[in-house]
């Protein structure tokens, strides 16, 4: 299936916005493992995901054409 990946802050320095083709990944926890393996820089960073513009607070199911945002700690203000 395909998901849309959007990145922010320092993560956008090494993961560009892209359509990602993934197989065998059903949840946000699976996706985290996949991302950390494919983008090694991510493993050392604290980050949160948003699924279809909602902050992921617990493991959630991912479906084809979902949008996933990867967000490092916030630094507004």
């Amino acid at each position: 299936m395909q998901i849309e990946l959007i990145s922010f802050g320092k993560i956008s320095d090494f993961i560009s916005n892209q359509i990602l083709e993934i197989e065998g990944i059903e949840t946000t926890d699976d996706l985290k493992k996949h991302l950390e393996k494919n983008f090694p820089g991510l493993a050392d960073i604290k980050y949160k995901l948003a699924l279809n513009k909602n902050l992921v607070q617990q493991n959630s199911e991912i479906k084809n054409r979902d949008s996933i945002a990867i967000m490092p700690p916030f630094s507004g203000g």
Partner: protein, 147 residues
């Protein structure tokens, strides 16, 4: 969540002192107000490893930020007896010395205005998906981290 419309807090570029002055004067007709509290965030010319910050470039996950800000706004209104509450946050390049955050609360008495303003600033910095990139005078950058 209430049916109230989600307000946009984002402005492109810095927040002009004239805009702040106008916001204050807009409250003159609201004569039940007895106290305003204002917080202004200003971009600091930090020195990091001998390099000076010339600007901070702000980006946000706008839709998520506005939904979250709406929740915060509702929570603050139910916690404090406020007459009104305004939040403006900059996006894009803001030069050192310019204003990037404007939080404005008004109440019948000073204490709710001051406390609500403080809580808003803390929650905005901790909970809104906004990121600041510090641009140095030599055009290198580092991502800001809130303390």
């Amino acid at each position: 969540m209430s049916e109230k419309k989600i307000k946009n807090i984002f402005v492109t570029g810095s927040i002009a002192p004239e805009f702040i002055a106008k916001s204050i004067s807009n409250h003159s007709p609201k004569t039940s107000i007895g106290g305003h509290s204002i917080f202004l965030g200003q971009v600091r010319k930090d020195e990091v490893d001998g390099k000076l910050v010339s600007a901070v470039e702000y980006t946000a996950f706008e839709e998520l930020a506005l939904t979250k800000m709406h929740e915060i706004r509702e929570a603050i209104f139910s916690k404090y007896p406020l007459s009104c509450l305004h939040v403006h946050h900059s996006l894009g390049d803001i030069k050192a010395g310019e204003i990037c955050l404007f939080v404005f609360t008004s109440s019948k008495h000073r204490k709710p205005a001051i406390e609500a303003c403080n809580e808003l600033v803390e929650r905005i910095k901790a909970e809104l998906p906004i990121w600041g990139k510090e641009i140095f005078t030599d055009e290198t950058h580092q991502w800001k981290e809130n303390s």
